[in-house]
């Protein structure tokens, strides 16, 4: 059953690439395909949520992978829907030709494919391969615009992520090595079999292995100070792609790290070591991101840095651990991807309307594009953790964890930085939304269709702010149990 979720996007990618210049058809295929992908994905998600896990040998899904799958297909679909008007506008403004549009959709599907591969592979080696593959595929999407800046971004993205990834491979090897004495020669690298013997794995192998994995996948997840490629790549790629990169890809990398974290929690080493590192890197990312958010001049980079900030929050959450920490971390993965997608879509509209990424040159969005403006405001309030939006819930959970565990200093640091970020971020956005628009800027949204996914996302984060559906809540509790957060 899981193969289907891998084959489908591959097929769709092929179709898109083959259809070539028949743009309308490509768009139809993409949206329909993404829709079916969504349905299929949701089916798998629901199945894992109530069966606990779906084990098909090399393919394996538990609720954790289910959560990831949910994020991938949901954001994937919305990004696909948003891409249609976005790409049309790019085409009309002579940025890209029809051939490249087909190529864009094709690679978008390949990108989704690789990310799905990350979360459904049982074999940690496969996970590594998949993560590397995401880099290679998305490189073309990042460099899509073929401008000097986007090429530079792509190059940095490729080199830095590849180096990180190869460190992750080294880490994986050590984990594997730690399992050899127990499982014997040629033991498969399966997550399930490793978990089975987690209690007997050798600590010093695990330690060095986890450090390498954390740095490796951490690079991909955008943990400071390995984050350096992220603002470039996320700000240079087309907005829908940015949404996928920030909202989904980072989570996938984090997912890979957390798999090892779980392994360590159940190993004789205990979770303390890995949690400590996660907390350290989390706080580092939070602080550094805050600094850049304050001094930022480019609103897409602003969003990119905010992604670093939120990855920081997620890893702080798992660093604090305990019921609230893990609950918060998991919930934050979902909330952040929803909110960040909303913001990148909004940023896309602004970019296409004003033709600049400079915060200082964008004024009076409220006058020119009232709906986009409203959604932007909602999104930024949400991303900075104001209630009644969902991120507030997860952030307060993380804070609760910190205080509950008695990690007072980090907790206070965390909340202080969040306040500063709030101030800075809102400062930028409010400047953009209010005031008088520049001369000769005609009113009107870029497209109605582009607003749809944004409205969906806004509704989602508003509802999630107070109310978490039981099925999701239960699944999260199971995952927390997986992290040993309930004991």
């Amino acid at each position: 059953m899981i193969e289907a979720a891998l084959i489908l996007p591959a097929v769709l990618a092929a179709i898109c690439l083959l259809l070539g210049r028949r743009t309308r058809l490509v768009e139809a295929v993409s949206v329909a395909g993404a829709g079916s992908m969504l349905v299929l994905g949701l089916y798998l998600v629901l199945r894992t949520f109530d069966e606990g896990s779906v084990d098909e040998g090399i393919w394996y899904m538990d609720q954790f992978s289910g959560l990831m799958m949910l994020i991938i297909v949901l954001i994937g679909f919305l990004a696909m829907v948003y891409s249609v008007p976005y790409m049309r506008h790019e085409h009309d403004s002579g940025e890209v030709n029809q051939k490249r549009i087909a190529y864009y959709y094709g690679f978008l599907f390949l990108f989704i494919l690789t990310m799905v591969l990350v979360v459904v592979s049982n074999n940690l080696g496969m996970v590594w391969i998949a993560v590397e593959a995401t880099t290679l595929v998305s490189a073309f999407l990042v460099g899509f615009h073929n401008k000097a800046t986007s090429l530079e971004a792509t190059w940095k993205y490729l080199i830095i992520c590849s180096i990180g990834i190869s460190l992750a491979l080294l880490g994986t090897i050590f984990i594997y090595a730690s399992s050899l004495p127990i499982l014997g020669e040629g033991s498969d690298l399966h997550w399930t079999s490793l978990m089975a013997v987690a209690g007997q794995l050798d600590p010093s192998f695990l330690k060095i292995g986890f450090v390498l994995v954390l740095i490796g996948y951490g690079t991909k997840a955008g943990l400071a100070p390995m984050h350096t490629w992220l603002p470039d790549a996320h700000s240079q790629s087309p907005s829908p792609v940015s949404a996928l990169l920030s909202g989904v890809l980072l989570n996938c990398a984090m997912y890979a790290v957390l798999r090892y974290h779980i392994l360590l929690i159940h190993s004789p080493l205990g979770g303390g070591f890995s949690s400590g590192l996660l907390l350290l890197f989390g706080l580092l990312s939070l602080g550094i991101a805050a600094a850049f958010i304050i001094t930022q001049k480019d609103y897409k980079r602003l969003l990119a840095y905010s992604s670093i900030e939120h990855i920081g929050i997620i890893s702080i959450g798992f660093g604090f651990g305990g019921f609230w920490g893990i609950f918060g971390g998991l919930l934050h993965m979902l909330n952040h991807s929803l909110t960040k997608a909303l913001l990148f879509f909004g940023a896309g509209n602004v970019l296409q309307k004003y033709g600049t990424k400079n915060i200082s040159e964008v004024r009076g969005v409220g006058r020119t594009m009232p709906f986009t403006a409203a959604l932007l405001i909602i999104g930024s309030l949400a991303i900075t953790g104001s209630p009644p939006f969902s991120i507030f819930t997860s952030e307060i959970m993380v804070l609760t964890a910190g205080i509950d565990q008695g990690n007072l200093l980090p907790a206070i640091l965390y909340s202080a930085i969040l306040v500063v970020v709030f101030a800075a971020f809102m400062g930028h956005i409010v400047k953009m939304v209010f005031g008088e628009p520049p001369q000769g800027m005609e009113k009107g949204e870029i497209s109605k269709m582009g607003l749809l996914p944004m409205i969906v996302l806004a509704a989602a984060i508003l509802i999630m702010g107070l109310y978490i559906p039981d099925i999701l809540g239960d699944a999260l509790r199971d995952i927390i149990a997986l992290f040993g957060g309930l004991v």
């Binding site: 190059w155 940095k156 080199i159 830095i160 180096i163 460190l167 330690k207 060095i208 450090v211 390498l212 740095i215 690079t219 100070p225 390995m226 350096t228 490629w229 603002p231 602080g287 550094i288 805050a290 600094a291 850049f292 304050i294 001094t295 609950f327 409220g366 104001s386 209630p387 009644p388 507030f392 819930t393 307060i396 959970m397 804070l399 609760t400 205080i403 509950d404 008695g406 907790a411 206070i412 909340s415 202080a416 969040l418 306040v419 500063v420 709030f422 101030a423 809102m426 400062g427 409010v430 400047k431 209010f434 005031g435 008088e436 702010g465 107070l466 109310y467 978490i468 039981d470 809540g473």
Partner: protein, 673 residues
């Protein structure tokens, strides 16, 4: 049960109304009508609930769905009910007022949004005082801040408006962070987010933790209440907002902070260390004195009113502080007295401040300026508005027997009881506070005399003021209601105080209702210490007045009243020769120049006319002390750090790879040990 139903409706209709109003944005008239009808209805419901709760005891209501933070429940006990009532009454009057007020935004700004946000603002305030789950509270608290933020920046094309709104948002967010930390620290002890579990948890806390909570909450709620030095947002945001919103913000929103302070200190923590009370008392004194001083020299009506809000919050905190001191020494009766005084001032300030802001709004509406140097002579052109504003000013200046006077009288009485305190040091300090309060009272009188005298009396100082017309009926109704209440609450205070005792007794653990009121007399303390009887004062004043009038007519000779010019020493009087507001407050400005630190500049220019040799220009502005010495440097420091950090993003890929290399090596080495 009936109350639950009412409460559910109270919450539901405004949300619905907000949506409708937003949808009808295209048709301003309709959307205004919908929005404010809804808000007035639901505020009436609020009053009803208050009465029911006082009558039947507390109500509890839960949201129908579970949340990870436990049941999202609302509890309305006497304390909450009192604040709910205050909020609702004010909101009702302001809603009436808004029918007329909102019109003048038509075509300029999206009126529908105003109506929508107004309703959300009201609901969030209600939920803030009623929610009994820490997280739910935080959510509502921020919702209140956000909705008020959007209302503040409603006129966002005025330059400066968005800036002040943003400043407000950030300040209140800082406050929320402090509050949240406090709650979570309590949660770590209690293991539940429900307020009902907090008091128990506080018992087991170490003194250090309790003090930490005290300070966190003082800062958090203080930022919202506008205590000095966290007040800076207040005189920027309140004037920037539409006047009906300023009325709500100044009159009731800041009170939600007071509510939470009482809740946290008396209900959750339980007051034990005297220094808590003294701290609050000190904060109160500073806020009251500086607040009124800045109010006095302000010539923008709404800013002046905003500063006066700072002052009154100070007075309220003085009363609260005294209550806490008494409580900490186990003098519960006296604590009850001080607490009642505090609540009474909360009520009366809510009444007269909303009235005054509505008045200011009417003036602004009729003359398009809130700078009193351009006004004057409105008493003739806007008789009703001026009359009601006058009542508000009298009440704010604590003229007997209006509501403002009664509350101040009670506070004085409470402070005079300080001789019962065993600690001599405290005994000595409280009279100092008493002196501060007395000065504050006198300065407040001067301030309100100025704002009324300069704005409404004498000759108009500008064309706008010349052509001012009386405002529409609905606005007058709103103000009229408040004006009547200002008088009634004062005169009939002896009927209200028992209810306030019902609020305070569970908090301070003593009820003084039976001794507090004797017939129509208020006898604050046991024994013959002192008493006052507002209704009798009223009667005496009226009868004497009548007598004076009659006698002076009968025996005062046949002299009639002749209209004539003001004595002008021979030169025709113009607006320029009138006494200006700035001039009025100048003596005090010079007397307290060490507070105002005025920046004076002289400019002399050669004048063409042979008779006038040189013309002198004189400007005098007050130094914004807190901005200059507190907020400016803080922001600069943060930016400096950020700048220093952001050099790491050099753009060179080699550097970036270097980071990874270094991190790897470091971790490996660390791991080795």
């Amino acid at each position: 049960m009936l109350v639950d139903l009412l409460f559910a409706t109270l919450i539901f209709i405004p949300l619905l109304g907000a949506v409708i109003a937003a949808v009808l944005n295209g048709r301003p008239k309709a959307s205004v009508r919908v929005a404010f009808t809804v808000s007035s209805i639901s505020s009436l419901l609020g009053v009803a609930i208050t009465i029911l709760v006082f009558w039947q005891g507390q109500m509890r209501w839960e949201l129908p769905f579970a949340s990870p933070f436990g049941s999202l429940s609302f509890t309305i006990d006497a304390l909450a009910a009192f604040f709910l009532g205050t909020i609702s009454v004010v909101t009702f009057a302001v809603s009436l007022y808004s029918f007329g007020y909102a019109d003048h935004y038509e075509g300029k700004y999206p009126v529908g949004m105003l109506g929508a946000m107004f309703n959300i603002f009201y609901v969030s305030m209600v939920m803030v005082v009623s929610s009994s789950n820490a997280i739910l509270f935080l959510i509502m608290w921020e919702t209140m801040s956000l909705s008020s933020f959007f209302l503040v920046i409603f006129e966002h094309r005025h330059e400066g408006t968005v800036g002040s709104g943003l400043f407000y948002l950030i300040m209140t967010h800082i406050g929320t962070a402090a509050i949240g930390l406090g709650f979570l620290l309590t949660y770590a002890q209690s293991g539940s987010f429900d307020f009902s579990s907090f008091p128990g948890a506080a018992q087991g806390m170490s003194d250090l933790l309790r003090s930490a909570l005290f300070l966190l909450w003082a800062v958090g709620f203080g930022a919202k209440a506008g205590i000095i030095p966290l007040h800076v947002w207040l005189p920027r945001a309140h004037p920037a907002a539409p006047s009906n919103v300023s009325a709500l913000m100044s009159a009731v929103m800041v009170k939600t902070a007071i509510y939470m302070l009482i809740r946290c200190y008396f209900d959750f923590l339980g007051v034990q260390d005297p220094w808590w009370g003294m701290t609050i008392l000190a904060i109160g004194c500073v806020s009251a004195l500086l607040g009124v001083m800045y109010a006095l020299i302000e010539s923008d009506i709404k800013r002046m009113l905003a500063f006066s809000t700072v002052e009154n919050i100070g007075i309220i905190l003085i009363a609260l502080g005294v209550a806490m001191v008494f409580e900490s020494y186990g003098l519960n009766e006296l604590a009850a007295l001080a607490m009642i005084a505090c609540l009474m001032h909360v009520l009366s300030h809510a009444l007269f401040k909303s009235l005054l802001f509505m008045g200011a709004g009417s003036v602004l509406n009729a003359t398009h300026t809130k700078n009193m140097e351009k006004l004057g002579g409105l008493a003739k052109r806007m008789p009703y508005t001026s009359a009601m504003f006058f009542v508000g000013a009298l009440s704010a200046a604590a003229i007997p027997p209006l509501s403002g006077f009664i509350s101040e009288w009670l506070i004085f009485q409470a402070m005079l009881q300080s001789f019962n305190i065993p600690e001599t040091m405290v005994k000595i300090l409280i009279p100092v506070a008493l002196g501060t309060l007395a000065i504050t009272g006198a300065l407040a009188a001067a301030a309100f005399l100025k704002v009324f005298g300069i704005t409404f009396l004498a000759r108009p100082r500008s064309k706008d003021a010349q052509e001012a017309k009386e405002v529409p009926k609905s606005m007058l109704w709103g103000m009229g209601l408040m004006a009547t209440l200002c008088v009634l609450v004062g005169v009939l205070s002896f009927t209200i105080l028992p209810a306030l005792d019902q609020v305070s007794s569970p908090l301070v653990g003593a009820s003084i209702a039976d001794s507090l009121v004797e017939g129509i007399e208020i006898v604050p303390t046991v024994g013959e210490f002192s008493q006052v009887s507002p209704p009798l004062i009223a009667i005496v004043l009226v009868t004497v007045m009548a007598a004076v009038l009659m006698l002076s007519q009968v025996y005062g000779g046949r002299g009639k009243i002749v209209k004539a010019d003001t004595w002008d020493c021979g030169t025709p009087l113009t607006a320029r020769t009138e006494y200006s507001g700035r001039g009025f407050s100048n003596p005090i400005n010079r007397m307290f120049s060490w507070v105002y630190r005025p920046i004076r500049t002289f400019r002399a220019r050669k004048h063409p006319s042979p008779y006038i040799r040189t013309e002198m220009r004189y400007t005098s502005t007050t130094e914004p002390v807190f901005e200059k010495y507190l907020y400016g440097p803080t922001e600069a420091a943060v930016r400096w750090v950020a700048k220093k950090v952001s050099v790491i993003q050099t753009g060179s890929i080699q550097t970036y790879l270097g980071y990874i290399f270094v991190v790897l090596v470091l971790l490996l080495v660390v791991l080795r040990f």
